[in-house]
């Protein structure tokens, strides 16, 4: 895992969270309490889902989107909202002692790229990515 504990609290604005994700090349970020317990997770998909009307997900191509202004309006409205309104809650997390096979299984089942790693009290210790898993497999740790 990567021992980077970059996280936000649930009152952080969507705009700031997107800014952090963009500058740190993160596909998602844990949401924590004041004592660092992970209570949510915000991914790129959560933000995009919140910025588009529900029926968009049924479309296979943006060619079918009749009017982009609707997306732009929703994105503008979204930026000042607290992240708790769009985060995944409760979050999917893994314990620091979980086997890599278990983590890989969770990632495949839930189709996620990154998972928060927590201690026995649910406090954030770092994150694990798909690349971490693939690398570990190549090195024979899986």
């Amino acid at each position: 895992m990567v021992r980077d504990v970059t996280a936000v609290t649930q009152d952080e604005t969507v705009e700031n969270v997107v800014r952090i994700m963009a500058t740190q090349f993160l596909s998602g970020i844990p949401v924590v309490t004041e004592d660092m317990r992970v209570i949510g997770f915000v991914s790129e998909s959560d933000v995009i889902r919140a910025a588009i009307p529900g029926y968009f997900s049924l479309l296979q191509s943006t060619t079918f989107i009749p009017d982009m202004s609707q997306f732009l309006k929703m994105a503008a409205k979204l930026k000042d909202k607290p992240i708790r309104e769009i985060m995944t809650h409760p979050p999917l997390v893994v314990n620091e002692n979980a086997s890599l096979a278990h983590v890989a299984d969770l990632m495949i089942k839930h189709n996620v790229k990154i998972l928060p790693v927590v201690d026995e009290h649910g406090r954030l210790l770092g994150v694990i990515t798909r690349t971490n898993i693939v690398r570990a497999a190549m090195e024979g740790y899986l």
Binding site: V8, T9, E34, M36
Partner: protein, 320 residues
């Protein structure tokens, strides 16, 4: 995560070992083992020193651009005891260059000023800092500041930590120290007097000036003040008096890189692991760590056994 180390102006340290280094000449570096690239900046160095002593820490601060990413990648490789959380900005993190010459016993340092940091980045950092404070026992605030920030930020961070009952350690130049002390007094202070021999605006010349400066810091409310005196000696003030810690051992100037950070790391370790240790013992252990570091050429932090060994060479003399 027991300790938060704050590095607002980190650097990618590039260290070159060049025998017979002179200016205005062409030098070829011998091989890969004569050139090192390490994550640097005082707080980060303290995290590395703590990791060597088995203490977990979280290194926080502001990094930028490609150099910042290289720094973070390297730092994440150092030890599983170091967690990180840096706010990323666009301007490049600085690189510090050190040329060590083991033949002429010189160390030439070129330190860059660092990027300009905007208000938004500082706000994001302070929010994270508040979260991490909940789990830390001590905070180390040290090093230079990037452009656009003043010592006020150090004072504010120290105040937040003290309000939550955390121990605070300062290691910074007089300009920042003077401003920070207006807001909050730390538990332990080790002023960085390398650039200008000044503490709280007072010029340091005689040993008595050093004694007075250290004692004044304790009068301001610090529990321990450590002031470096003529490279290998330290004037140490506590509420019980003032001492000089020294050694008869020869200390080569080219080996002092990172010694001050080993000092701070070891003081934090002693304070966390031996709650009943006196402040003088804390300073002695720090001094021994710095001495142990100077026995190594590269910026490699000492192990506990090496510090214990160096303790035997420390001499203590009461001055006041």
């Amino acid at each position: 995560m027991k300790v938060i180390t704050v590095t607002l102006n980190p650097a990618l340290d590039r260290e070159f070992i060049i025998e017979g280094f002179t200016v205005n000449a062409y030098h070829r570096i011998k091989g890969q083992n004569h050139m090192m690239m390490n994550p640097g900046g005082k707080g980060i160095n303290v995290s590395m020193a703590l990791a060597k002593l088995g203490v977990s820490s979280i290194a926080i601060g502001i990094i930028g651009g490609y150099t910042g990413r290289v720094l973070l990648t390297e730092l994440n490789k150092v030890s599983p005891l170091i967690s990180t959380s840096f706010v990323h900005i666009e301007e490049e993190t600085r690189e510090n260059i050190v040329i060590v010459d083991p033949v002429n016993h010189t160390m030439t340092s070129i330190n860059s000023p660092g990027p300009r940091v905007d208000r938004k980045a500082v706000e994001l950092l302070l929010k994270r800092y508040d979260i991490y404070l909940s789990r830390a026992e001590a905070v180390v605030i040290s090093g230079s500041l990037p452009q656009g920030l003043t010592g006020e930020i150090y004072g504010k961070m120290a105040k937040k930590a003290k309000e939550k009952g955390r121990m605070v350690f300062f290691d910074m130049i007089d300009e920042y120290l003077t401003e920070a002390l207006e807001i909050c007094v730390p538990d332990v202070v080790k002023p960085d007097v390398r650039g200008s021999l000044t503490i709280l605006g007072e010029r340091l010349e005689s040993l008595e000036d050093y004694v007075e400066a250290a004692a004044n810091l304790v009068k301001r409310g610090c529990k321990l003040a450590v002031v470096s005196y003529e490279i290998k000696n330290d004037v140490v003030a506590t509420q019980d008096g003032v001492w000089l810690i020294s050694t008869e051992e020869k200390v080569d100037p080219e080996n002092i890189l990172g010694a001050g950070d080993a000092y701070v790391g070891a003081m934090v370790y002693k304070r966390l692991t031996e709650k009943n240790a006196s402040m003088l013992e804390v300073a002695r252990f720090g001094y021994a760590a710095a001495l142990a570091k100077t026995r190594k050429l590269a910026k490699e932090m000492p192990e506990y056994e090496e510090i214990s060994e160096a303790l035997k060479s420390c001499r203590l003399e009461r001055l006041r």
